[in-house]
Symmetry: none
DNA sequence: ATGGAAATGAAAATCATTTTCATTTGTGCT
DNA sequence: AGCACAAATGAAAATGATTTTCATTTCCAT
């Protein structure tokens, strides 16, 4: 069993919030760090096993990871230019909690995204 | 654009309204129906576009489809068994609208999902 | 019948992820 | 230092779902 490469966790932190294995890999490449894709996958998996990161699936099927307990925010994404604005969760937080409790769910998190066309597009 | 092959929808119904593309394909094969995998994928996609079926992701990355109840809803997904419960949007709808307006976005939609561990897991 | 549009499906391409395996690195021991 | 052995690494191949390509077939309206 392999342990997590600290640089991977580091990169995930710098990415702020969610990132896929591929994204972490490319971020590291661009940062000039030498690492193999395989190691990135193994490290993220290991972090997930240790409950240090959360794993979710994006709609396109890619797995995304984020630090547990990270103060999270949501995104307002433009369908045209892809630009994303960070926004506070507001009412969602309570909604998620209520819904989860109502159905007896534990260890709950949530994801939410708003998408549309920004002024420029 | 292709329209949905009715036999696909039919099979999905017989499957208990919950199956992956591969499963639908194999069910049809076993039932002696002649159909191509490609057509199954296209039909399910088309049904999803028309909001006739819901698309979710299983933990192994396979997309699963099921007949969906009705209008707009969100999902409470179990990280353990992958089971998904439909829940009303509630506060989210207004939140999305407010946030979008605040930033001058038009043509707005949103997605939201709650995940956790269900009672059984 | 005839032409064109839509539907079909076999095979190839794609893409994230996993596996294999040979090599490198690290650590403890003498 | 020298040695042995376990863990970590990563390139390349394998996997498996999904998508694309493209040639063929089916449907309709004329």
């Amino acid at each position: 069993m392999s342990r997590s490469n600290p640089r991977v966790l580091n990169t995930l932190e710098r990415a702020g919030g969610f990132a896929s294995a591929q994204e972490v890999y490319h971020l590291m490449q661009r940062a000039g760090e030498s690492i193999g894709l395989t190691t990135v996958y193994r490290s993220l998996q290991s972090l997930a096993d240790d409950k240090i990161v959360d794993v979710l699936r994006r709609d396109d099927g890619e797995s995304i990871y984020r630090l547990c307990g990270d103060a999270h925010h949501h995104h307002l994404v433009c369908k045209g230019c892809g630009d994303a604005i960070e926004i506070p969760g507001g009412a969602i937080e309570k909604w998620a909690k209520t819904m989860a409790e109502e159905h007896g769910f534990r260890d709950v998190g949530h994801s939410a995204e708003i998408y549309g066309l920004c002024r420029k597009c």
